[in-house]
Symmetry: C2
């Protein structure tokens, strides 16, 4: 699961490249902090209580869900979740869905998000998926352009219904 | 799983209300025909070969996926798939996703699609989901308005990346 990549030493002055790996239970508090480190997410997250750990256990036990993290210098600096969804349409095509993408504010603009999405796409391809999909909040037009630069097409409306 | 509803008799001249239930293996050919009975889906579906049956078995064996059908007069006249996705965000909120919504062309405009989506929302609520989401092709503006009339908000872009 971990990507192979030569690590830059701290002496070069460049950031140490992050290692992408599956999340572990002890990562939960840092992942929750990342989810909250966002203008839209800030009001609806934290602290890392039992509800987050219970959700982590559901994901860890489900072969169709993977929670990925990027770790650099002993810190969690990025996260995303990948869900494989079987379906009848398009000749029984398996699709992959990306949710919960976050990169630490201090690490943005350095290509980490791109590496994470490209990694997720390769995992999806390796599992035989014919499509990768995600939704992106219209209040983040930069994010939509970022995904388009990775080859995604904003062909669909993403509709949400909160349940009271 | 089946909804309770008084059936109208054929003598009234009104269509017999459809029963909503989980799909069975023998429904696969009719579901595939429904997926193909659509301007966008026509070019990419059928016939109901092993790939569709393999996908059906994956769905049937997965507690987080439900394939629903609407049956009326011994025919499958509607289908949708519901996927429950665990996740850390929003305090470990479970979300439900709807995919592959189809209503037979002869049954459109009679409220069946609305019943199917409302049923899916109730299933999601019963499983403790905090959100129901779906994407809708921008080439079907009527569909987007239909989901908005059910309370959904088109707050997100739905981005897709086909894998070659």
């Amino acid at each position: 699961m971990e990507t192979e990549e030569t690590e830059e030493t701290a002496e070069t002055g460049r950031p140490v490249p992050a290692v992408l790996r599956e999340a572990r239970r002890q990562d939960v508090p840092e992942i929750v902090a990342l989810l909250a480190d966002d203008a839209i997410g800030a009001g609806r997250e934290g602290p890392a209580d039992d509800a987050y750990y219970a959700a982590f256990e559901l994901i860890a036990a489900d072969q169709r869900n993977q929670l990925l993290v990027a770790e650099a210098g002993g810190r969690i600096v990025g996260t995303l979740q990948l869900t494989m969804i079987p379906g009848l349409s398009r000749h029984g095509m398996l699709r992959a869905q990306i949710e919960g993408v976050r990169v630490a504010s201090g690490q943005r603009g350095q290509g980490l998000g791109r590496r994470m999405i490209e990694h997720a796409i390769e995992v999806a391809r390796g599992q035989g998926c014919g499509l990768v999909q995600l939704t992106s909040d219209k209040r983040r037009p930069d994010a939509v352009r970022f995904y388009e630069s990775l080859g995604f097409t904003a062909s669909h409306e993403g509709l949400k219904l909160p349940l009271g």
